[in-house]
């Protein structure tokens, strides 16, 4: 839909594609290599579907050894590699290139070891996020990071993007829940970083690897923390006459010393569309809705929800619904959880992911509406309010090229606004190709060069997941060779 440029393919690599495919088939087995056009079509994009590129070939690796062998071959022959989990990236983090091999890890999805005493689980990285929690659920444990794509997305993708989720206000994001990884570098070397212990030895390499968007290596195994599930959890729904009041209420809850597991915010356009779709019982006469969930024993929950009602009172909520049963909780959450789906039925939308300091919410939301209105577009806001991670949904018609371009321009303006008020370009979706060209809004040339020098330590030739994270013309400063 947009002006974001993808790198031009290397003609020499394209010319040798049949030899490359033959070599790959020998390195792994022919059935692990997808080279026909129809097969490759499945991998041409991710959840940023406006961009598509057919990869040269796809290898669905079944072991760390296979990943290592393929990377070694690609490294030797200077062939680019795009790592892939389930392809659910919203920022284009898994979009391939015509001269690149996709290495998918989704077949490596086994649980290797569960250690309830030490509260860890070791898994192959292609396992889905939800499958980790399912594997330990019967014993009363769960894996905390819960991106909304958790049914499909892989841990490998979560590690690459340092994914968050609705419950990270209390439990942190991916990087706070991982103890160790097995990573294969572009040179094919298999490296163990961390382990089952809590503290890193030497430099915190894990911190750098997690969130490196697949540019430091391909993670094939990981040891992550599992936590005991809370006894129970219940939400309260609060409707307000202004977004400002809702924002102030969030601040007041946090200032009071209560850390809910989730605080979700929906503005009027979001409430209306969602309610029409899900019949969750949301009040349609309010400007903003909060869903605040707390956990603990029944007694603890009652006390916390009671406190929250008291805290909310000065902000004059027009609607208050405290869940008292599992059915009621499910109904209240049903609306929020189906919000994106509800919008998908009425329009194409472009989902943004900037984060702002919560204190600037009252000023930022109207500006977002103005930015979109200025381009003749509608916008709705559904987001994680506790941590200021906004998800404006800009509605547009994907078949209308002009509208699509305007949506992307509006998105860029919104992200610049987020940075201007002290926030950032992306809270949980990652940079990918989508926000690559906005990196200079947040970082100086020195900051970017430092990041690219760190990348060079892992992959000096910038062959892994190329053309992402950094503006294409930025890499020339480091001496590394990313084809622009």
């Amino acid at each position: 839909m947009s002006p974001t440029r993808l790198p031009e393919p290397d003609q020499e690599v394209l010319a040798g594609s049949s030899a490359i495919i033959k070599a790959l088939e020998q390195i792994v087995t022919p059935d692990a290599v997808i080279s026909d056009e129809e097969g490759r079509r499945t991998y041409e994009t991710d959840a940023l579907t406006a961009y598509r590129r057919l990869p040269l070939a796809v290898v669905l690796a079944r072991s760390t050894e296979e990943v290592s062998k393929v990377l070694k071959y690609c490294h030797k022959n200077r062939i680019k590699v795009v790592p892939r989990g389930a392809g659910t990236s919203l920022s284009g983090g898994a979009i391939p290139a015509e001269d690149a091999i996709v290495i998918g890890v989704s077949k490596m999805n086994r649980v290797l070891e569960v250690d309830y005493e030490n509260r860890t689980i070791r898994v192959q990285a292609g396992i889905t996020n939800l499958a980790i929690s399912e594997a330990v659920g019967a014993h009363g444990f769960f894996y905390a990071p819960d991106p909304s794509s958790q049914l499909a997305c892989t841990l490998a993708g979560n590690l690459a993007m340092n994914s968050g989720g609705a419950h990270c206000l209390k439990y942190g994001v991916t990087t706070n829940n991982v103890l160790g990884v097995k990573i294969v570098t572009m040179g094919g070397e298999v490296i163990e970083v961390g382990g089952a212990h809590l503290d890193p030895e030497g430099y915190d390499l894990l911190a750098l690897i997690i969130g490196s968007e697949g540019q430091f290596g391909i993670i094939t195994e990981a040891t992550v923390r599992i936590l005991p599930k809370a006894e129970s959890a219940r939400p309260i729904m609060l409707g307000f006459e202004t977004c400002e009041a809702a924002g102030q209420c969030v601040a007041a809850i946090i200032a009071s010393g209560i850390i809910p597991v989730a605080i979700e915010f929906m503005d009027k356009p979001a409430i209306e569309v969602t309610e029409a779709f899900a019949s969750a019982g949301y009040p349609c006469d309010v400007e903003a809705l909060l869903i605040v969930e707390v956990e603990g024993s029944e007694e603890e929950i009652n006390r916390l929800l009671g406190d929250i009602v008291d805290i909310a009172r000065p902000f004059e909520p027009k609607a208050v619904e405290e869940s008292t049963s599992a059915e009621q909780s499910a109904r209240i959450w049903k609306g929020r959880k189906s919000a994106f789906g509800a919008f998908g039925r009425i329009s194409d939308y472009y989902c943004m992911d900037g984060t702002i300091p919560l204190s600037r919410l009252a000023e930022v939301l109207p500006k977002i509406s103005q930015i979109c209105a200025g381009k003749g577009l509608k916008v709705a806001n559904v987001f994680h309010a506790g941590d200021g991670n906004l998800h404006p949904l800009i509605l547009y018609d994907a078949n209308n090229e002009d509208e699509a371009r305007k949506a992307e321009l509006a998105g860029a303006e919104i992200l610049k606004l987020c940075v201007a008020v002290g926030g950032c370009l992306t809270g949980e979706h990652g940079i990918g190709i989508e926000k690559r060209d906005l990196m200079r809004v947040q970082f100086s040339e020195a900051d970017l060069n430092l990041q690219m020098r760190i990348r060079s330590v892992f992959d000096p030739d910038f062959l892994l997941n190329p053309g992402k994270v950094f503006p294409l013309n930025a890499s020339k400063n480091t001496g590394a060779a990313e084809a622009a």
């Binding site: 994001v173 490296i191 390499l205 750098l208 024993s297 984060t355 002290g422």
Partner: protein, 406 residues
């Protein structure tokens, strides 16, 4: 005596690093210097302290975020936070007194540069988990920033977190931005006496698997427990196994009872009230049960359930006194002073069981002759060298403090 540089502003610090880079002068980077006796002994012509970079740049209690100049003392920050009913969740540990340094002196920059977290780490995460952003100057004398001031941020690589635990060898931090949390309304501790290590760690792990958000899980061998201030605990000549719960008062009361009920098989539990709980855990934070002296102090990170086996194995080679923190996942181990600090045996045993060991307290002659920080695999060492090169190609920032030539 080396030359002392005390920049009062980021730009001044940058100029000083630039001057040293041009002349190839190695710089000893310190905050207040309270952890100076930790690490490999180094000789630098220049000592640069961040202690004049002070002040709170931003504090938003309703957003649970604070941003301070790197040389601001931790004690000042904790006072400021307490005034608004907030705190640092990771309970930074003060290794100053245990290593012959001053108590309470450490700066906020050093808290994150060393990533030494206290008991609540087991529930709430380490210093590294609470860092949101940094500003700093690298060995190329470039002023850079990474991360930011918001809770959720995946814009670019996680460079700030990558700098935690690097002990000033990659960059001099000038500003740190971090997450804070509310003080719990109430707290309580339940204590079991006289349990052998293995059973104690089993108890701690069982407690950590309950949904009661236990925020401290420690075990002190009898020889360590006798050093406690609390007269009721130090005079028993018994090991002390303790669990902390924190929340609003009624919840604490209930959780405490339910924990005790579930752990009945380990014996009758004693209780510490809110005041005693605050005192007990703050004593552990100062590491005063491992007081400065001629003996050596190791810090071992491992899986909780392997910790007692590991300690028993080491005990076959030398007398030990052990303080298990983090449900057993962190062992502070006191051993008698020897020329090689028991390094060969300790590292061999740790390698068998998994984890790593750091020599925290020893004479400089000992620290000069053995590896103080955990030896790295060849692949990790190569990446470590690469990172040093990326940040500090001339090798002027704290060279050799962690590893030779790094």
């Amino acid at each position: 005596m080396s030359e002392l540089l005390r920049p009062a502003a980021d730009w001044e610090l940058q100029q000083m690093v630039s001057g040293c880079a041009e002349r190839g002068l190695p710089i000893e980077v310190v905050g207040s210097g309270s952890k100076r006796a930790i690490g490999r002994p180094t000789e630098s012509a220049v000592t640069l302290t961040t202690s004049s970079l002070r002040g709170i740049a931003l504090y938003e209690p309703t957003e649970l975020v604070m941003s301070v100049a790197a040389g601001t003392p931790l004690s000042a920050i904790e006072l400021e936070l307490a005034g608004r009913g907030q705190m640092l969740a990771f309970e930074p540990i003060d290794v100053g007194p245990a290593t012959g340094g001053p108590q309470g002196g450490q700066t906020m920059g050093a808290v994150f540069a060393t990533n030494l977290s206290g008991a609540r780490r087991i529930q709430s995460g380490a210093a590294r988990d609470h860092l949101l952003g940094v500003k700093g100057v690298n060995g190329r004398a470039e002023l850079f920033q990474a991360g930011g001031r918001v809770m959720k941020n995946v814009t670019g690589y996680d460079v700030s977190r990558g700098l935690t635990g690097s002990w000033g060898t990659l960059a001099v931090l000038t500003q740190v931005t971090f997450k804070v949390v509310p003080w719990p309304e109430a707290s309580a501790t339940i204590v079991f006496l006289g349990l052998p290590d293995e059973l104690a760690v089993e108890l701690l792990c069982t407690a950590m698997s309950q949904p009661f958000e236990v925020s401290g899980a420690i075990h002190l061998q009898a020889s360590v427990a006798e050093r406690l201030d609390h007269p009721g605990l130090s005079s028993m000549s018994k090991s002390v196994t303790a669990l902390r719960v924190e929340n609003f008062a009624r919840s604490v009361a209930t959780r405490k009872e339910r924990l005790k009920e579930g752990l009945r098989v380990y014996g009758k539990a004693m209780e510490l009230d809110n005041r005693e709980t605050l005192e007990f855990w703050s004593e552990l934070r100062r590491l005063s049960v491992m007081p400065h002296g001629p003996s050596l102090l190791w810090r071992i990170s491992t899986k909780p359930t392997t910790a007692p086996k590991l300690v028993t194995a080491i005990k076959r080679h030398m007398p030990v006194k052990a303080f298990y923190d983090w449900s057993g996942g962190l062992v502070w181990l006191e051993v008698p002073a020897t020329a090689d600090a028991g390094t060969a045996e300790i590292r061999r045993i740790v390698a068998i069981h998994g984890g790593h060991a750091t020599l925290i307290r020893a004479d400089s002659s000992v620290r000069a002759s053995v590896e103080v920080f955990p030896p790295l695999s060849s692949a990790v060492e190569r990446l470590t060298r690469g990172l040093k090169e990326a940040f500090d190609p001339a090798g002027i920032l704290n060279p050799g403090r962690m590893y030779a030539n790094i």
